[in-house]
């Protein structure tokens, strides 16, 4: 029976149910007790091995085939790509390794590639046709907005279990950080001077302790959310991120940009995400920011005028870094230091430099796969050279990893 249990644990593990050594040991200890106490082996093993009710069905299948001879043991769907280490650098990757930067930080190489590549390629082809070809489709704005709301929400619904899982993981990390900060702010050091003064009424006898006041938090965060046509495919994802962030960070201002910048902080205060989204759409319409082409130079210029950055500011840019319509350096096309492999240095890189200088940190969260960076009009390496840190964030898992990394 001992060997059977070990094999059972292994089968569970192979099928995605995490059966630890402790579980196997507990199961082994439980076996004689179940027999003696007239217990149900299946329920007992489920209590020991299962830690998530959603895996109950799979457990029942495996148990059935293993102990009752019903059906076959489910096959393991292993994907060698999936086993790639999270922090492995792109040894075999074919993308441009950015010859502008001497040291490049590549935190999420190859993660989740297998899931998204096919979808993204399709969407990116559309994008290239749209941006390089010039025009968006002829639907009315309302129609397009309605369609995009519908289709994107439907997509989210179809991915619900995974999405909830990832959201929970991310939320857990954020909650931990917030709790720690809260606790730190409560644990103040004793204020000796005030304590002595307060205890004067007791004749100098030390009876009451006065703690120092918590330091005033001066950090502020600015989110810059790209809503240009090149980011249409990911706009709802960006929106969800800034909506969630609005309720998680203090002193947060959120902006959207295509070739201009508009602040949407007030719209995100809505309790319902749909109401907030509708308000944001309204702001976009007012500022004629529907399917606009990227001009990061004018957009960042507008942002720098609106947001008063200081050394406590964190700027987070959610963008694919494709400055399609932005001005580029002229008369220097032959100098290699101003050239990417495919284009000229955009003037917006100077504004990123200014942002980096004026703020504590500039982070770019890029939803494109790393292999697409620095291809065509992508300015990732220029922005990195200007002082921004660029991260590939294509799903909640990567976002959660990013938060723990920074």
């Amino acid at each position: 029976m001992k060997d059977d249990l070990i094999r059972f644990s292994r089968t569970l593990r192979e099928n995605g149910i995490p059966a630890s050594l402790r579980c196997t040991q507990n199961a082994y200890e439980a076996l004689p007790l179940i027999e003696k106490g007239g217990g149900n082996l299946k329920e007992a093993l489920a209590a020991i091995y299962l830690k998530d009710q959603r895996k109950r069905k799979k457990f029942n299948e495996i148990y059935g085939s293993f102990f009752e001879g019903k059906g076959e043991i489910p096959q393991v769907h292993s994907d060698p790509k999936n086993k790639t280490l999270k922090h492995r650098h792109n040894v075999t990757s074919t993308h441009d390794q950015s010859f502008h930067s001497k040291t490049k930080y590549i935190p999420f190489a190859e993660t989740m590639e297998h899931i998204k590549n096919s979808l993204v390629d399709e969407v990116k082809l559309d994008y290239i046709e749209n941006t390089l070809g010039g025009s968006s489709n002829g639907d009315s704005e309302d129609n397009v907005d309605f369609k995009s709301v519908k289709s994107d929400l439907a997509d989210l619904n179809s991915l619900q279990p995974e999405l909830i899982d990832l959201c929970q993981k991310l939320g857990k990390k954020i909650a931990t950080k917030r709790a720690r900060r809260l606790k730190e702010s409560k644990k103040q050091k004793p204020d000796i001077r005030r304590t002595i003064r307060k205890n004067m009424k007791h004749g100098g006898t030390l009876l009451e302790m006065v703690r120092s006041k918590p330091p005033v938090k001066k950090h502020n965060h600015c989110f810059l959310n790209d809503v240009s046509v090149s980011c249409d495919w990911i706009s709802l994802w960006f929106f969800c991120m800034v909506y969630a962030a609005q309720h998680s960070f203090s002193n947060l201002r959120t902006f959207e940009f295509d070739n201009k910048t508009a602040e949407i902080s007030s719209a995100l205060q809505e309790d319902e995400v749909i109401d907030a989204f509708l308000k944001v759409l309204e702001i976009r319409k007012q500022n004629q920011m529907i399917h606009g082409k990227s001009n990061m130079f004018t957009a960042f210029e507008g942002f720098l005028n609106q947001a008063s950055l200081n050394n406590k500011s964190y700027v987070m840019i959610l963008s694919d870094c494709r400055d399609w319509a932005g001005p580029k350096y002229k008369n220097q096309s032959m100098k290699t230091e101003f050239l990417t492999k495919y284009g000229r240095k955009p003037l917006s890189a100077d504004l990123i430099k200014e942002m980096s200088r004026n703020s504590k940190k500039v982070l770019i969260l890029n939803p494109e796969p790393r292999s697409k960076w620095n291809v065509a009009d992508s300015c990732v390496s220029y922005y990195e050279d200007a002082g921004a840190e660029c991260f590939e964030v294509r799903d909640l898992e990567q976002l959660a990893d990013l938060i723990s990394e920074i």
Binding site: G37, E43, A46, I48, L182, L206
Partner: protein, 291 residues
Amino acid sequence: MNGDFMSETILDTDYVGKILGNNNYIPDETIINVVFLALSLQKPILIEGPPGTGKTELSKAVARAFMRDFFRVQCYEGITFEQIVGEWNYQKQLLHLEMSKISDTITKPDDDVFREDFFIKRPLLSAFMNDNPSVILIDEIDKADEEVESFLLEALGEKQITVNDLGTFDLKNDLMVILTSNSQRQLLDETKDRCLYLYIDYPSLEREVEIVKTHLPEASPHLVEDVVKAMQKIRRMNLSKVPSIRATVDWIKSMTMFNKNDLNEDSVKKTINVVIKNEEDREKVLKSFHK
């Protein structure tokens, strides 16, 4: 006395089921098996499931059934080690230090103010140090921060609690730990690994009838059956807030107060607010009864 009680009784699943039933808790087979295993292996139980399905009640029933002392930690966002384990009594420590200043050398008390006398014990430590077998319910652990959960690992796995400046306390009794969670956030894998897992879903028709009968023995069986059937139907209606077992009991109570013995349109309209807590849901339910 409690120790004798346990040693004299042969623990098996039939006994667990029977004794829980005698203590107003109607368990299903899974619950019986998990409680039996937890008692036999001395493992903590992690109970998950929707609100109002009897997670908290199970721990109370176990304490009653096995005559154990009951301790409870109600978790919430921001709960700290101090509120679960204990904290130093600063005032007492300061007074003691002042006293040591004025006393002469003969009557001078011990200088050490980091002793057990100066430590205020909170539920977890009290349960650990209790002389009688006990049950501790750590309710809604998912609402506590991850740090609290990490700290609990030592208590759950090693059966020890370490307090800085004071030392490590070993478990002094046969303590059964029950954690409940509403899955507001995922618990740590380490916590789950140390516990037996029990998922309590909404009960089947038969079990719910039994539960209601235990709570309201004087209610008419016909009414109980009707209400429970209606409740099972309501739970399948995709409402924003699914009514709990508690709501079933309350519904029957309010029907009895209105002297209604039948579940018709009028009685439902009068009493549905006890069950449904949302206007949209209410309309949906009333519409279904109207049909």
